[in-house]
Assembly symmetry: C2
Homo-oligomer: 230 residues x 2
Amino acid sequence: VHGARPLLDALQLTKLSSTVPFAAFEIYQGDYKGKTVTVVTNGKDARFNVDNVGTTPGALSAFYAIHETQPDLVINAGTAGGFKSKGAAIGDAFISTVCAHHDRRIPIPGFVPYGKGTHPSVPTKNLVELLSFKSGVVTTGNSLDHTEMDDILMAENDASVKDMEAAAVAYVAELANVPFFALKVVTDIVDGDRPTTEEFLENLGTAAKSLQDKIPKVIDFVTGRLISEL
Amino acid sequence: VHGARPLLDALQLTKLSSTVPFAAFEIYQGDYKGKTVTVVTNGKDARFNVDNVGTTPGALSAFYAIHETQPDLVINAGTAGGFKSKGAAIGDAFISTVCAHHDRRIPIPGFVPYGKGTHPSVPTKNLVELLSFKSGVVTTGNSLDHTEMDDILMAENDASVKDMEAAAVAYVAELANVPFFALKVVTDIVDGDRPTTEEFLENLGTAAKSLQDKIPKVIDFVTGRLISEL
C-alpha cells in the first residue's frame, strides 16, 4: 500500500512491533467489524530514501505478514498501468484473475512456465459486480517502463494491467496456500501515446486517493463472507 | 547453492527443521573448524518441479537464513554468465566487488539508483589472490537471456559476470548489516557468439562441480579470519 496513512486511520489500525527489525516494512493490525485486518507496507529504502517497490520487497513483506498473521485472505493493493486494448482507463479499479511475470525469461524446458509464474487469484465475481470494478490479468515486472520484449510477453500473459509487485505477492500467497487477489487502480495507459513516467506521476496522487477510498469498500465486502462467496 | 548435496556431505551439515514450513528453501547447519556454517538452498518449486531461481526466492531464503542464524558473513554461491570483455572464461570463479540489478528500470528521480541497487561486497583481496579467483561486478536479472536493453544496463553496471540472484541476496544482507560477497562460477559467455541457453546447459554440470570444490576452500579461508582480513 502506497501512502497508507488515511487507510490506517480509517480502519483504526495499530502499528505492531516488527520481529525482524532490520526489514523496512511496517505492519499494522486491528479489529474491523469482528475480523482482524492487517496492513503491511514495504516501507522506505533507508539508503536511497524512496518507497520500496518491486518484487523483492513485495515478496519479503508478504512472506513476513503471512508468516506472522496467518491470514484467511491476502489482498495486494496498489497502482498499475492499464491496457486500453483491454478496456482500461485512468482511475479504473481492476481485480486480478491471474498474476504473471513478464520479465523472467528462462528459455530452458520446464523453466519457462516457472518464470511466468501465472499465479491464480480467487474468483471475485460478486465483488467485481457490486463495486463496478473491472477484472483481468495483472502482469508484473520490476521496471516502470517496458521494452518491446516486455510488450510481447505482457501480450502473451493477456494482461489488462501492469504492475511491479502483484505476481510476487501472489507467489508467496500460493506457497502458503492462502487465497489471494490484487486490487489495482490505473495511473497510466501502457499501450497509449504518452510516456509512462509522465502519465504515472501526473495521476499517482489521484489514483492513490482513489485506492484509499476503494480498499475499505473491498474490506467491507470480504469481511463476513466466505471465500466462495466473493 | 545448486546441487548442494556434495557440499552438505563434505561439511557434514545437518538439515534444520524450517520454522516456515510453507517455504521451499532448505537450511543445513553444522560446526566446521570451530565455526557455525549454515547452507540454505532455494529448494524446488512444487508446482513447476524446477529449482527455484531468481531474485524472489533468493531474497526470501536470504531473509529467512539471516533472521534465523544471525551470521557474521553471507556468501551467495552459484553459477553465472561471464563477460569475455572483462576477462571471463568458462569455469572461472569470480568474487563480487559490487552486485547491481540490470532489469529494474524506474525512470523517476530518486528511483533510478534504487532500481540498480549497487550493493557493496566486503573487500576480499587476500581471498582472491590466494585462491587465484577473479573479481568484479555481478549484475543480476531475472532472465537467463538478455535483451539489448539488458546489454546497455549491464555495461552501465560495469559487469564482469551476470547472474539471477546475487543483488537480491546482497540487498537483504545490506538491510541486515551483514558482510556479504558472491562467489560465481562461469557457465557461459554473455558477450560471446553462442546462445546462452545452449552454452549454459552444456557447462552447468562442470561449473556446479567446480563450485562444490571451491566453496569449501572459501569457507576454509574465511573461518578464523576477521572480515578485514579477507
